[in-house]
Symmetry: C2
Subunit: 539 residues, 2 copies
């Protein structure tokens, strides 16, 4: 209990709010007695990112590590987690303000016609602007609170686990000079591949927001090359605000990409049942699907509802943790479509309900998505293509109709469509007819179900559970104070050296010199011969 009290007194004296359960106090005792346990600082990102990270953080705490999670007082979804100590810090904005920001972002996406959006250029522009605001809004509140930062330093953590979507955690890791482990799904400018020096051949690795597959024709490859050329600029624009805060706080000229290049490990939330096969680096640990829980039985009322669907089965429809409403005119298209199908529908929806809403549709504020998908009568899954739902769909082998809303969802969707396990629709121009066609296709064309079952089998057949893998590597970094043996020497080279441009220049110089000397020698010989023959003629 000593550590617990110390922790509380240290934190409360300076305005931290400490939330610690009785179980945590017990764990503190365990921490003190255990040599193996490490001290881990966790700074998560908001929204679905926290939901995805939470199982790992809780498991690390459950295993006896001293896990301290630092979150803002006001956030969309972040809150206390089991087996950990949660510290909150004050921020000048409210949860409602953040929600408004997200809704405004989604609205812009809803109103962007994807057919005129060449290679996702417009979408990525909107994303960049939102990203810049969203990812630094908590940073200044923590970084420039000297006492809070001193407390974190005094803790002498072994490592930090953070989501680099929000720049805060990465900057704190750099300041504390401890091993940084990043957990990442998709970064808008592909910063995780740039910063880790992971080669991404543009000829078959589609750039973010292009929504291309890994098999591209000449035109698409051209767009992809152009986007790759612009990538450093995109990253610079994306991080401009964060770069400025980091430089100001660390009191030296730096950039987020430079800070991120020092990451010890990258937990990338994909596996190759989902992601297109591509090169990876030794310090990348693939943990796709690690947050999918074991399915539980449904509550009585839901079990009755889905069983009542008979042979036709039912459809699960959610648009992610951040979106439970739709503009009335869009929602109408969905109600109209559902009226015409024999399947029952469970829809997470809190928007306006029309008077003539069909009876086969059950609207809920929240639904047990994974448990429903695991039900044998689940026939299709209408989803926005967020990674959580996507892996739950794959895990349970349910074909999908995918309606991407924002961020990396369009790219995620493309990966499922390329595997023949999903159909995709644009929210911008969705109609009940289009929805009906897509739903009937994935339900009645057996190839979708068959391919999804194969994908599911491949995804679930793994030598070690991804959650265990993430736990192992986090503890590895704490045990060995880093993982230097996984850091490529590429980080010691500048851009010119990395691409061997100096060597190529030198070799070209030699080549040109040799050619020049050869040419001059030949000309010299030729002229001498000519002179001789002229002399002879003259004689």
């Amino acid at each position: 209990m000593g550590q617990n009290s110390e922790l509380q007194s240290r934190a409360q004296g300076i305005g931290f709010l400490v939330k610690m359960s009785g179980l945590q106090s017990l764990l503190c005792l365990f921490w003190l007695g255990s040599v193996q346990a490490g001290k881990l600082l966790v700074i998560p990102a908001d929204g679905s990112h926290w939901i995805g990270m939470k199982p790992l953080v809780e498991e690390l705490g459950r295993r006896g590590n001293q896990v301290v999670v630092v979150i803002p007082e006001e956030s969309l979804s972040m809150g206390p987690s089991e087996h950990t100590t949660t510290l909150t810090f004050p921020v000048p904005h409210t949860k409602t303000q953040t929600q408004e920001l997200v809704l405004a972002y989604m609205d812009e996406n809803l109103n962007t016609d994807p057919s005129v959006d060449l290679g996702g250029l417009l979408i990525s522009f909107i994303t960049v602007e939102t990203f810049k605001t969203f990812t630094v809004r908590n940073a200044e509140s923590l970084l420039f609170n000297k006492e809070l930062m001193k407390t974190l330093k005094d803790w002498d953590f072994d490592a930090i686990l953070t989501d680099p979507l929000e720049s805060l955690g990465a900057i704190v890791g750099e300041f504390l000079n401890i091993s940084s482990i990043y957990i990442q799904v998709n970064h808008p400018c592909g910063a995780h591949f740039l910063a880790s020096q992971c080669p991404s051949p543009v000829s078959y690795i589609p750039h973010r927001y292009t929504q291309y597959s890994n098999r591209m024709g000449f035109f698409r490859r051209t767009v992809n090359v152009v986007k790759a050329l612009l990538q450093p600029l995109t990253c610079r624009r994306l991080f401009s605000h964060a770069d400025e805060i980091a430089s100001r706080f660390l009191q030296r000229e730096t950039s987020m990409l430079e800070i991120m290049s020092r990451a010890v490990l990258w937990f990338v939330r994909f596996d190759f049942a989902f992601e297109f096969p591509r090169p990876v680096m030794p310090n990348m640990v693939m943990i796709g699907g690690f947050s999918v829980p074991k399915p539980k039985p449904l509550p009585q009322d839901l079990e009755e509802f889905v069983n009542g669907s008979g042979e036709h089965g039912f459809i699960v429809f959610t648009l992610g943790s951040m979106v439970s409403e739709l503009p009335e005119v869009k929602a109408k298209e969905f109600f109209d479509a559902f009226r015409q199908i024999p399947q029952r529908v469970l829809w997470r929806y809190t928007g306006v309900v029309p008077k003539d809403a069909p009876k086969n549709v059950k609207l809920m504020k929240w639904l047990p998505q994974n448990d429903l998908l695991a039900h044998p009568k689940a026939k299709a899954f209408i989803t926005h293509g967020g990674t959580h739902g996507l892996y739950e769909g794959i895990c349970n082998g349910v074909p999908m109709v995918m309606i991407p809303l924002f961020g990396d969802q369009g790219d995620n969707v493309q990966r499922m469509v390329a595997r023949g396990v999903a159909e995709t629709l644009n929210i911008y121009d969705i109609t009940s007819e289009k929805l009906l066609v897509a739903l009937r296709k994935v339900i009645h064309d057996k190839s979708y179900k068959e391919k999804m079952m194969k994908l599911s089998a491949i995804h679930r057949d793994r030598p070690i559970e991804p959650l265990d893998l993430a736990v192992f590597w986090t503890e590895f970094v704490m045990r060995h104070k880093g993982a230097d043996h996984l850091r490529p020497a590429a980080h010691d080279l500048n851009w010119v050296q990395y691409h061997s441009l100096d060597v190529i220049g030198f070799l070209l110089l030699i080549l040109v010199t040799v050619m020049f000397v050869t040419f001059k020698s030949c000309m010299f010989c030729f002229r001498r011969c000519l002179r001789k023959s002229q002399k002879k003629k003259n004689e």
Copy 2:
């Protein structure tokens, strides 16, 4: 027993020699009853390669898979293994002839002055010539024996596990049209990275036989670029004989690189405690150190000998499974050095023994290398730098003096030297003084032992044992009839497309056109302006 008899009758009728123990017959029964078990064809490569592969093959058999190992009647080290069925086929050469080939190869390496060998160009030339002879000598004997090949086809294997050092297995896999799993340590022309489309940035990934580390100055990077440019030519020369046999046998124009590019999985026998960190592909499974067995207690006489070394401890000295002799003049240098140290020495040596051989040296025909290295009194390991010994050294945390003889050993050694856990000497100009300096350094300078213990801790701290990983992935391929989801789309592109040269050309064309039109427009405007002003002047 039915399957056993069928197997024997099928094989014996056509000249196969079937070796099957009682245990194997029992296993056959298990195979018949087990749905999960797969049918695996194994075609290994000779020498230390087979020794490295054997534990995996035996474990796959022990787990109930039907494992059929096909080997030539005469070989250096290949023979029956437990829990498997071994089939042998006649070859026109004897074991002695093969041994002579290896010795001649080693002699050439012994007499090549590495100081004049720019970036290993000479060594690689010698290697290429030996490689060409060695790797195809068994191929024709099996491939053009129609009945033997028909028998293998009739077996309807789920997959083939083969070492692509010898081309035979890869060609058989292609002919049988089954999933091919390659087990590979280092290919002389880096074919495993070429064929798997794995990016290898030349700026920090040293080419084979350069003996460079991953941190290269300008000169070394230049040599490395030149070797990379020559790589396709080296590969073509290396495979010229095998390409011809493959094309003749498969009755279509093909190449070994093309055949190898269809590998479903690559088991690469390294991990990053040994190999320099570099990009890898999703279908590469790192199983470095998988063949290191658990150490057993030493026999009574050896235990007494090593314990008699007192506080000074002892040195283990072997030059690999293929080399137990040395030219007398070289051996003398070793005896002279050992005479001057207080440590006892266990040396695997069958060459000429001088009359005044020092008493602290115990010469043996064979020694339990791993068990000796695991002994707490082991102070140093003199080794040629073959991967087996190397991983045994790492596993047991014993600093090394490394004397590379041929093949990839020079590169392996460089990796250990770069980590500060080994000293290296050239066999070409070795003297007792040089040996003494190196031995005293690794024994008395504590940094070698400390760094080696750290490396050992990192190597042994893994989420899953590499042997289990190899077993899992072999069975995965048999269960799912391949692993298409790990195959990058790069294989569908030609060289120009892969490097985006067509796109770059197109973009340059646009750029040049735009510049040309801009220039012409400017010139046009300029001329008009000039004409007007001249007119005005004239007026």
